[in-house]
Symmetry: C2
Subunit: 462 residues, 2 copies
């Protein structure tokens, strides 16, 4: 077949208001996957998507897992074979009081880049997922068929850490065989400045429990001789960074791949607005590792953050207690070529060595994901760059992302394929915050970009 890019884009433009209406219908389903009260709603979102995909002529299955179902769909023929991944579950909307409108009643507001949809899931991931589906719709409507093979894999547990996805991928390896995966769950540098995310940091997340005495003690009767796990934990946490922002875990940097000078130069030139990025969230002074730019610290350097800490009395007023235990949640972001298991072993060794006499430490691993680096040399990556260049006034930047998308590592490990991370979010979308939004210009260009990608790939290999 020959896909007419212009015809498909014109069709998408004619149909855009209806595309927005369909996205709103999906946003009205409160598919909060982590909340048992929304179990039925979450399934309803899966079924809604299955109907949409069936309506596009795809073969569709809603497949059960130990958690929320996976929506699988297959269509088209020939090579290449694309695997579109997305998720239909959304973050809990809390704190509810901070929303200007009810989170599951999408509202259009005017922003600096024009109208935007405000609702939970607007950008993460319903809006971005729908850019793919609406692109397919436009292509089918204008050309009558798809230019290559495509499979959809849409899960409902991304916000829960995808606990049932790897077993599903193993079970359905044959039905999921593809040449490359495509995910729209990342950001651009601005509405006019597209980006392809080439690096994702990995993650190691642990919970620490440090115990002193057998019971909580009165700070008057025991203060001065009782071990205080809050003090000891504070010292251990303080010991994990030096004054130059380097992580103090022996051997941690041994396998960190140095950034090549070309990459550093490219990142300096992409126009990442550091002041805007930090100022938007009230950071008055960037922390971190000396000798690296903000983009390098975020995208290409390992970091360590304590994500939570608790122990002793935390209510109103005073209670003179020396607690028996103190706790922390601690995570590291990992970069190529750090292996989460090796880092866990080093972290364990370090913290155990720094546990003072008289205390007992327990380390409970909660999550691990390998860092990702997508080869820019692949024909798919090049095709994506060409596609975005046709839709936006600027060519796409190759950026990194400090976050972790564990499914990318899973797809590589279980199915042996790389992923194209082509995202249409903006830094101020607030994907996990109240008043999450998605600019309509991003939605529109997202749809057009996926049309252009199908056009490039269909042409490439036909």
């Amino acid at each position: 077949m020959t896909l007419s890019l212009e015809a498909a884009r014109a069709q998408a433009a004619r149909d855009f208001d209806a595309s927005v209406a369909r996205l709103c219908a999906l946003l009205r389903i409160p598919s909060v996957g982590t909340d048992p009260a929304h179990r039925a709603d979450t399934r309803r979102a899966a079924e809604w998507l299955a109907r949409e995909l069936a309506g596009l002529g795809l073969v569709v299955a809603v497949e059960e897992t130990d958690g929320h179902p996976v929506v699988w769909a297959r269509g088209g023929s020939g090579r290449p074979h694309l695997l579109y991944y997305g998720h239909y579950d959304v973050q809990p909307p809390d704190p509810l009081a901070e929303w200007r409108h009810p989170p599951f009643e999408p509202v259009t507001e005017e922003g600096p880049s024009g109208p935007r949809l405000v609702a939970r899931g607007a950008v993460d991931n319903k809006g971005q997922l729908m850019t793919m589906i609406e692109a397919l719709r436009a292509v089918r409507t204008s050309a009558g068929e798809l230019p290559c093979s495509i499979t959809f894999l849409i899960e409902g547990e991304e916000e829960s850490g995808s606990p049932n996805l790897a077993p599903y991928l193993r079970r359905r390896r044959e039905e999921l065989a593809a040449d490359v995966a495509v995910i729209s769950d990342t950001t651009m540098l601005g509405p006019d400045r597209p980006a392809i995310t080439q690096m994702l940091r990995g993650l190691l997340y642990v919970e620490l429990e440090l115990a002193g005495a057998a019971v909580d003690l009165h700070s008057g009767l025991y203060g001065g001789v009782a071990p205080n796990p809050i003090h000891a934990l504070a010292r251990m946490i303080a010991s994990l960074h030096d004054d130059q922002g380097r992580i103090q875990i022996p051997g941690l940097y041994d396998t960190v791949r140095e950034l090549d000078p070309q990459q550093r130069q490219a990142w300096r030139e992409i126009g990442f607005d550091v002041e805007q990025f930090l100022g938007a969230v009230g950071i008055t002074r960037a922390e971190g590792e000396e000798g690296f730019t903000v983009a390098e610290r975020l995208w290409a350097r390992p970091t360590l953050d304590v994500n939570g800490i608790w122990g002793g009395y935390t209510g109103a007023g005073q209670k003179t207690v020396i607690p028996a235990r103190a706790f922390a949640k601690l995570s590291l972001r990992l970069v190529p070529d750090q292996d989460p298991e090796t880092v866990l072993a080093r972290l364990r060794q370090t913290l155990e060595a720094r546990t003072p006499q008289g205390y007992r430490l327990e380390i409970r691993p909660l999550a691990a994901a390998a860092p990702i680096r997508i080869p820019a040399e692949s024909p798919f990556f090049r095709a994506a760059e060409r596609a975005l260049s046709q839709v936006f006034p600027h060519p796409p930047a190759r950026i990194g992302c400090g976050g972790t998308i564990p499914v990318v590592a899973m797809l590589k490990e279980e199915l042996g394929i790389d992923t194209l991370l082509i995202g249409f979010g903006l830094d101020d979308d607030g994907p996990h915050s109240p008043n999450e939004k998605f600019d309509l210009i991003c939605y529109r260009r997202g749809i057009e970009s996926h049309i252009a990608l199908l056009h490039e790939l269909g042409r490439d290999t036909s």
Copy 2:
């Protein structure tokens, strides 16, 4: 009058079972003063005490305050004039699941020193308060009258920090005029080893709030450049002690009175069983200031403890957040001649100086109480020593107490009187813990000790 010590003690012995029954009746009233759900119960305890004291022929008033009422009572005549202080409110019984029996249904269990009452408030303070009341009862019953003037002052807000007591003392200064106060709310060295507490540590309690960015941030998208208030707070806490256990607040030790060698020698000889004391609560290694014994660290040295810490995600599983804020509750125990206001100023200066760039610190003072040293040279102190020597197989030790009883400083400041701290608790009573208990041998000897004290004081000055 002439009080026959033997007759009064014999009367107390005959009446002891009834004394236990009366204490049980008081223990059955769940007077949890801090819990609004128990407001009526708390008042019921005050009214129960008022009836008991009226039954002993005292003039009684239940006096309103802005919180729970004060029970005031007056009886006897002549000098000296004793002011008995106690409190009828009790700690919340939480965690309820850890009680062997319901906390407000007193049960007699067998312990190593014979039977003991288990109930919330058994030792703190209902049991100890009742030693005074039952002593008066035995004296009145056997002698027909009291050997000197006595006033009762029983509050219902001790476990809340006595917020309305100082105004009450100022308002009723004349009705409360006395020569010396008597409080039974401290411990002995063992069931056979009585003690008079001669030193009480003071208290300074603050809450810290350290803010970084304006909002909680995603640790993937911002980790490496975002300020992390948990890290900064950990560093600040870690900086407050050196490796020798000394508090690192400049000038803190300037006004700390050195222990005189005689005192240190006496404390070494009183038979304080450190291994038992630490082992009972599972402390495998004493922390604290090098160069001081455990008793000295507990009774006569300032200490600093973080009593609570919280920030970020503290629920189950993982959330990759960098919190905007982290909090801590921090307190110091003070010793003569440290002034809480001066210490607060030094603490504030120290913490502010150690707040890193890019963070904002707020310090909220929650409580302050001066340290106490009771002059052992007073005739009252000597009389108390003689009284205890007549009841116990060993003479009383002069001990310190690491805790704080703010009312002692209030009585000194508002009424100008010292306090005799004659306590009958044991280290393992668990006054703020589940299964709080009071050994009946301690209850009995407490009653006898207060009889003997009245005998000594009545004789002394008649």
